[in-house]
Symmetry: C2
Subunit: 192 residues, 2 copies
Amino acid sequence: MPALKPTEITGEVVWIGHVPDRDASLQSQSATEAPLTYAGIPGEAHGGLTRRSCSRVVSQHPRETEIRNVRQLSIVSAEELAEIAADCGVDALNPSLVGASMVVMGIPDFTHLPPSSRLQLPDGATLVIDMENRPCHLPAKPINAEHPGAGDRFKLAARGKRGVTAWVEREGLVRVGDPVRLHIPDQRAWAP
Amino acid sequence: MPALKPTEITGEVVWIGHVPDRDASLQSQSATEAPLTYAGIPGEAHGGLTRRSCSRVVSQHPRETEIRNVRQLSIVSAEELAEIAADCGVDALNPSLVGASMVVMGIPDFTHLPPSSRLQLPDGATLVIDMENRPCHLPAKPINAEHPGAGDRFKLAARGKRGVTAWVEREGLVRVGDPVRLHIPDQRAWAP
């Protein structure tokens, strides 16, 4: 039996976005579809086969070290985003405010999906989940601009619900409304 | 806190090998050091930024589909390889017989290391563990050639001990004798 196993869990892509220039703004712009290439979503500020390492991996690499880019996409779950919004005291949060590349509905406990899980789209395009994305303070400003005060509560509210980062394993296309199937590593927990 | 966390666990690289032509032979040739590039170990038959998909991922991709190559290296643990050898009824198994790229000593429960764990070498070269490698029948023949009969027992003996597959996240050099530090995703188990 291969270690990578399809599950019966299929979600739906309910939103797609890309960030054209993250120095200008963290916010992503929505789209109805996006090509997925080995470098990520074309025109996406987080794209590239490699990237310069950031503060998130400073325990592994000095800042600005060239490493492979496992943060091409930021994927969040519609359900978790709704919970974050509620905890921020607002009715809903536009995914663009948190710089999301994709919002998926219907996959339970999304942020804690097993690392190295795959999300596969109808045309075969496949994303590899690197691991949980941890919330940072950056979305506070754009959220505050739209919902005064709510941004200040984002980082705490988003803990354990900020989604995952992912990269493209097989190229293709993603469209809003696409089903997306979960595949997971079929192996027991590490027991050192 | 970033999700990728260094551990206090450091192993040692005790063997390095590469397979120059897997159609000719699964066996790897040993070396005292090897460059690690984004395409894997140069001259390695399992190298490349991408690969044609094989039977192991036929639940995800039709055979021969171009996908990113997460199987650049096959890494096994010295301790688990010794257990496999014992179960095959031999004193020791040369790692070349199982087509290994690297043998690491001192990292417990190696085959079940968390997917997306990192192994980091002294110069900063970093490998990402995709997931458990599942034993196949291919090593039977070269093992039988050296230890008649033992190869027939390999696939069963290697279950849960076949090591992991990995790919290069940061380029550098690996040398026999190098310490190799384990970094793991610091997140709770998925609870769907």
